[in-house]
Every structure is written in C-alpha cells, then in structure tokens.
C-alpha cells in the first residue's frame, strides 16, 4: 500500500489517488486548499492531525472508491466537502476537535452517485467559554438512488462555551436512508459518579472520558493512537 505524507510546507493542491493509499496529514497554523481525488475502486485511509487551521479540504470519490478519514484537530475552522460522484462510493469520516477559541467547522456531503454511502462523525470538546459551531449538510441528489447518508454530531462542553450544531439533511430522492443526530452537553452525571466511586478525581475522570470520546470510534494502530493521545493530553 502506498504511503503519502503531507504537511503545511508541502504545496499539494491536488492529490490523485490511483492506488490503495495511506495518507498522513499534519497541518499547523495554516490556510490551505487541498483536493483529494480518489479514482475508481481505490481505497484511501487518512490519518490527519492538525492544530489551528482554516483549511478547505475537498474529497471526490469515484465509482466504488472507499475512504476512511481519522482526524484529530485542536482549534479547527476547516471547511470539508465530500463529493460522492461515483456509484457505490463510500466514506467514513471521524472528525474529533478540541476547541479553545471561537471556531466554525463546516462539513458538506454531496451524494451524486447511486448507492453511495457516508457515515460522518463530528465530535468536539469545547474546553473554554468560546463559541464553537458545527454546520453540517448532507445532500442527496434527485438522480442518486438508494444512498445512505448518516451524520452524528456531538459537542461536550467543559468550559461553559457557546455551542451550536446545525445538522441538515437535504434529500431530493424518495429512496434513501438518512439519519442525523446532534448532542450538546456535559458528560453524564451518573458516569462521573461511577468513575469517582472508584477513586478517580474529577480531572482524572475528564481526561479518560475525553480521550474515550475523541478516540473511541477510530481504529488506530498503536503509534498513531499515541500521537493522537499526546495531542489530546496537551490540552489539559
């Protein structure tokens, strides 16, 4: 499997995936336009670790392209757009954000291919009293039949921030499977009680819960998990 690496020093407006690829993205303090075009029948797995970014990232998936994105970011105002133009194109996208300043994260998914599938997980922990917004649009074209478009959006509020989620589904076809969910709140009281009843302090509970919340859904190798964990721990 081909392994590619991209940092803010690389100028890479267009990345064309013509064989199965692992793409590592590390971006810091930057505003970039990145286009990733995944050709027919190709698999792409992305591990992305960012801090303080305002990037525009576009993924285009052609027939039967399969993409998994594992992303962790500290302060992110990115605009991510997924174009599922091919039939049976499939994407799983895990965005995990740690927020300290006012930020808006925009996410758009366009289903144009038949039987295309998107599962989008947008999770954020807002550590301060700043404002954080998830603006998420899932759009299914009139001509795209039997698509599946799912989005799960959650913000855990640690520091009494102003949090906002707009989970939109724009469906122009009768034969679809579409779900959207949004949750804004604190960690549940009964969870904290359970953990504290085993001797963990409030801070220790929060650290474990935040790590679990942000990393729990992704399937990471040990090295990547350690790297992602270190970014999370830098927030405490």
């Amino acid at each position: 499997m081909l392994r590619l690496s991209l940092t803010e020093r690389d100028i890479a407006d267009d990345i064309i995936i013509t064989e199965d690829t692992i793409l590592e993205i590390r971006l810091s303090n930057c505003r970039q336009n990145i286009n990733v075009d995944v050709m027919d029948n190709m698999c792409l797995e992305v591990f992305e670790m960012d801090s303080d970014t305002t990037n525009t990232i576009n993924y285009t998936l052609r027939d039967n392209a399969q993409v998994i994105v594992n992303k962790i970011a500290k302060n992110c105002s990115d605009v991510t757009t997924i174009n599922l133009i091919g039939d049976k194109a499939t994407i799983k996208y895990y965005s995990n954000i740690m927020n300290f300043y006012d930020n808006t994260y925009k996410f758009n998914v366009y289903h144009k291919g038949n039987y295309s599938n998107s599962d989008i997980y947008n999770y954020c922990v807002n550590f301060t009293n700043s404002e954080f917004k998830f603006l998420v649009n899932g759009s299914i074209d009139k001509k795209a039949i039997e698509c599946s478009c799912n989005q799960d959006n959650k913000i855990i509020d640690i520091g009494n921030g102003k949090n906002y989620i707009s989970p939109n589904l724009l469906v122009d076809n009768n034969l679809v499977n579409a779900n959207h969910a949004a949750y804004i709140g604190k960690f549940k009281k009964d969870v904290l009680f359970y953990m504290k009843s085993r001797g963990l302090s409030e801070k220790e509970c929060e650290e474990l819960l935040i790590k679990g919340f942000l990393l729990g859904k992704m399937n990471l190798d040990d090295k990547t998990k350690e790297e992602f964990t270190n970014l999370i721990l830098s927030c405490f």
Partner: protein
C-alpha cells in the same frame, strides 16, 4: 468501621431516609431487605457520597471520621466501594485504563504494567471472565451477569475495606451467583477486617454470603433487626406481615 447516626436525607421535597441508624463493625456482614422504594439504594448512594441527595440531618462516620461532607472519590480512596445495582457502560474508556488509573489514584507509587497485568489475569481467571474484557470499554456490550462480575473484579483489584453490594444477585444466573459469592467470601477471608453491607430482595444470596445481621427497612428506616433467619421469615411472611406484627 461505619456508623450512621440519625441520618435524614431528601431528594427535592421528598424525605427518603428518616432518622436512619446503623453500626457496622470491622469484619461484620450486614444485610438490608425491604420493599421497593423504601430507600435501600438511596442509602447506598448516600454512603458513597452522591450529590443527588441532600443530607438534612445526622452524619456518616467511617473509621471514626465524619465523612458526610467528603467527595465521592475521597470516600472511595478511604476504602468504601459501592457495587452498583445496574453498572453503567462507559463508551471509549477501557477496563484496563480505568482500573489502572483507579489503582494509581489510591497509591503513592504508580503500579507497574507487569504487576497490573498479573493482578488482572489472576482475578479474571477466578471470576471466569474472558481476557479480552481488559481492552474493552467498561461494560460495553456486556450482559447483566458480566457487569456484576466486573464489579467484583474491581473489588478484588482495588481492595476496599467496606463494600456495599446493591442487589448484586439481580441479573445473575445460579452459576454466576455462586462464582460471585465465592469470590466475595474469598476476598473477605483474605481481608478479615472487610465489612459488607448487602442490599437484596431475596435470601438466596445470603445462603452463599452469610450475614451476621439482617435488617428490615421500611419507609426510610430500619424497623426490625435479626439474624440470618429473619431473611427467610421475610420471604415466608412478606414485609407487610412482619410490619403488622
């Protein structure tokens, strides 16, 4: 060990525990039985320090210290353990990470990875728990019985001196109840100063873990205390029958 004096507790405007008294000495096993909604689980959570309830009178003394105002985690680190009626699942937090953090929280020296794995393996074997639970999120996808065994695993690893078993027998099949009870008995044999407070609806668990005292609790207070035989009397006569006596 634990002494509760004249404890009254309310939630919102409803008084649940009413001038409740109990004294549990080192190494004693007490059982509390009572009808639904009488305050048994409230008692267990109040001992553990839940903020859902307001103490309006009385105090909780643990090892000669008034712990009524201590935080939940402080009480735990002093040796109190509540095995919950319905242990919750926690997404993304693995059993090993959780228990290792809990062990380190009560020790001045962090436990080494090798010692931790060895402790876990020994105790999981005794409880007939599969090894892969270590890396799984706490109670995620576990049956009621597996959750109760996990509670006992936590007891064996964290080594508390005062254990509250809140309906540990609910959701357990006969074989699992036997395994759980044997492990608790073994723990108490190895740590003879450990005291137990068993909250239950049924005398069956008391056949496995023999109590020194059985208390009948009705409407927020203990109305009758006896020995092991009281549990069977309750089962035979019912709470109403004994109260009307």
């Amino acid at each position: 060990m634990l002494k509760i004096e004249d404890l009254s507790v309310k939630i919102e405007d409803r008084e649940i525990l009413k001038h409740f008294d109990i004294e549990i000495k080192d190494g004693e096993v007490h059982a509390i039985m009572g009808p639904n909604g009488t305050g048994k689980s409230t008692l267990s959570k109040v001992i553990m320090g839940s903020k859902d309830y307001e103490i309006v009178g009385g105090k909780i003394i643990f090892n000669d210290e008034d712990i009524s105002n201590l935080e939940v985690d402080e009480r735990s680190r002093k040796g109190i353990f509540l095995s919950m009626q319905s242990p919750i699942s926690i997404e993304g937090v693995s059993n090993s990470e959780f228990l290792r953090t809990a062990l380190n929280a009560r020790s001045s020296e962090p436990i080494g990875l090798f010692d931790f794995i060895k402790t876990m393996e020994e105790n999981m074997k005794e409880l007939d728990i599969k090894n892969n639970i270590v890396h799984q999120a706490i109670n995620e996808g576990s049956s009621g019985g597996e959750r109760k065994k996990n509670e006992v695993l936590q007891i064996k690893v964290l080594k508390p001196s005062f254990i509250i078993l809140d309906e540990v027998d609910s959701g357990l099949d006969v074989d699992s109840l036997k395994v759980v009870s044997e492990n608790i008995n073994k723990y108490c044999e190895e740590n003879p100063k450990t005291s137990l407070l068993i909250i239950t609806h049924y005398p069956r668990i008391l056949e496995y873990i023999k109590p020194d005292y059985v208390h009948m609790m009705v409407d927020g207070k203990i109305v009758k205390t006896g020995d092991y035989n009281l549990a069977f009397e309750i089962e035979k006569t019912g709470y109403n029958g004994l109260v009307s006596e």
